[in-house]
Amino acid sequence: MTVIHPNMADETAKIRARDVCVFYGEKKAIDNVSIDISPNYVTAFIGPSGCGKSTFLRCFNRMNDTIGAAKVTGLIELDGEDIHGNRMDVVQLRARVGMVFQKPNPFPKSIYENIAYGPKIHGLAEKKADLDVVVERSLTRAGLWDEVKDRLEDSGTALSGGQQQRLCIARAIAVDPEVILMDEPASALDPIATAKIEELIDDLSGRYAIVIVTHSMQQAARVSQRTAFFHLGKMVEYGPTSEIFTNPIEERTKDYITGRYG
């Protein structure tokens, strides 16, 4: 049974999920999750390893489609439109819902190419001058411009881990998405790089709806305004971050928050 705090139902929800189940073959990885994601806040998914929070996140841009054995049921709407419906194209969906992965995965191309790739394939910028503008804007928003402006032709893989991850965030925002999904974006980074990423998430919130999966409760508390706690494929509790951390309703949430397991 899911506990949802009052006032969490959101008329203006960016993403609305209803009774979503995900199956890996016979195994049920996500069990009947319903949630409204607000466009104005950073929403964090927390929970112990293997609880299905990443799997659920990957439903929002249909990345589970790439796994042959995965099957998603239930309804997921982006701005009221069914993302599995006939009118929604998966390529367009992924342009609207960007994603940043756990391990930085820049393309083995130049920094410039990494950012310009998305706008190019979607035809968002035709001329080189337009692309230059997009590249600079995206890198600036990702807080990376000053560090790399003199070496845009260097390989993206030559950057440090934290820079690579910010490059990936810049790559995601280069196509002007409406939502950015982040799958444990700082778990492979050192504390300083992590702090930069968290700062960046703060800067980006408001402009984009951000959903972040993390197994660090401190991180969730620092960057998010909404938190959902997942356990064994179920969403246990969803509410304002301050409430979840100070005044959880469910016993399991309390146990996890206080470090009883996880």
Partner: protein, 430 residues
């Protein structure tokens, strides 16, 4: 446990604790054995490498020593004064396509023999290669102004005289060779013509160019057919094919195809390609098609491995910003997999280049005295030429065979070198 000083002596700490299991003699012995094992293993590996390098060096050295002679031939020196030769012609008639025939009808061969008799003696002139006059004709057609001047020609000696120069043959011939060589009229000269002539009946007149060109044309057909088909099959199987029984069957079939003995492919080429194009017997086109069948599975298998080695995170990254599957394949997967695919291609091509058995069956073992002028004209290939020459009785062919082997190896090295260059050019790190 500390010791407490009593007077000026120090009482040792109470009997030492028993040594831990990693501080016993037995452990140290085991440790020494571990290091010994490691040292032995390293020596064993080094020995294996040394052995293979030694074998390779011996093989190549032996081939080089034997083969160098194959690039030389015994030639007789004849000084021809064209003004006195009695051959007529001018710039136009000598540049006509039929010029050589015209010269032959005008009696150039006899005239050359006559001059040789005059300069070298009757016995020696009899040992001028019957085709020797063609060198003179070629010189004339390429430079008509020679008609009014003199030139020294080195004309191939007969193979008997050539063997005699090497110390083999009848006593008369040995004496003749000694005499001529003392006079400086007979010598073994560097034979550049070997690289531009084709097969012939006499080892003195053979060349490798016909077979080399045949190999190049055949390889080109093989590459053009096998590379795109192999790469596209690998991409489809890896990226698009639904996992299932059919895919498994195709996968197993391709693996088996790569292991089929090459002679079977020759039979296939014979019964299918030659049945469809009966006029193209011995043609590089058919040879290339047959070898492509053999090469393709190798490219598919290595190509699939190269595609599998592309990190899934790159694929995810591209998909997540909205690249369509075909864009993911062509913008990301293929460029990263290409170096591996090239390696596979070169392995397959190298195997095809050295292949003789399948080509035997589709008629590429014919005696072809002119280089092929296209994909459909009769040709032979380098390994086949080596096989044919090694079968010849004439002693002179032994060195020519070694020389042909050197040409084959150089061709192979050039091909591999190109592939390594391309691979390094495309290789990217991630």
């Amino acid at each position: 446990m500390s010791s407490i000083p009593v007077g000026d002596t120090i009482v040792p700490a109470a009997a030492a604790q028993p040594l831990g299991p990693t501080r016993t003699d037995a452990f140290e012995k085991r440790l020494a054995k571990r290091y010994r094992d490691e040292r032995n293993f390293r020596l064993l590996g080094l020995g294996a490498v040394t052995f293979s390098v030694a074998v390779l060096v011996f093989l190549l050295g032996n081939m080089l020593i034997n083969g160098i002679g194959g690039f030389q031939r015994a030639e007789l020196e004849v000084n021809i004064d064209f003004a006195a030769l009695g051959v007529e012609g001018d710039a136009t008639s000598l540049s006509a396509p039929t010029a050589v025939q015209t010269l032959e009808m005008q009696g150039l061969p006899d005239a050359v023999t006559a001059i040789a008799e005059e300069q070298l003696g009757k016995d020696a002139a009899a040992q001028i290669s019957p085709e020797g006059w063609r060198d003179v004709a070629a010189a004339l057609t390429s430079d008509p102004s020679l008609l009014t001047s003199k030139k020294v020609f080195h004309i191939a000696a007969s193979s008997e005289l050539a063997s005699a120069l090497q110390g083999e043959g009848s006593p008369e011939m040995l004496a003749l060779a000694k005499k001529l060589s003392d006079q400086g009229k007979l010598a073994r000269n560097w034979d550049w013509g070997f690289l531009s002539r084709s097969d012939a009946t006499s080892p003195q007149a053979v060349g490798i160019w016909g077979a080399l060109k045949g190999s190049m044309l055949t390889m080109l057909v093989t590459l053009v057919l096998a590379f795109p088909v192999g790469v596209l099959s690998a991409l489809y199987l890896e990226e698009y094919a639904p996992r299932g029984r059919w895919t498994d069957i195709i996968e197993v079939s391709i693996s088996n195809l790569a292991a089929v003995p090459s002679i079977i492919f020759g039979l296939l080429g014979l019964s299918i390609f030659l049945a469809a194009f009966p006029d193209l017997r011995s043609a590089p086109l058919i040879g290339g098609m047959t070898l492509a069948l053999m090469t393709m599975p190798v490219i598919v298998i290595t190509g699939r491995n190269a595609i599998k080695a592309v990190p899934p995170s790159i694929r995810d990254g591209a998909l997540a910003i909205g690249a369509s599957p075909v864009q993911v394949v062509f913008h990301h997967v293929l460029p990263l997999a290409l170096p591996g695919m090239l390696t596979g291609t070169i392995i397959g091509m190298a195997r095809a280049l050295g292949e003789t058995a399948p080509l035997l069956l589709i008629g590429m073992r014919a005696f072809v005295a002119t280089p092929p002028d296209g994909f459909t004209s009769p040709a032979t290939v380098l390994p086949m030429q080596i096989f044919l020459w090694s079968d010849e009785v004439d002693r002179g062919f032994v060195e020519r065979t070694s020389a042909a082997i050197i040409v084959l190896l150089v061709f192979l090295l050039a091909m591999n070198g190109l592939a390594i260059y391309l691979r390094n050019k495309f290789e990217k790190r991630w």
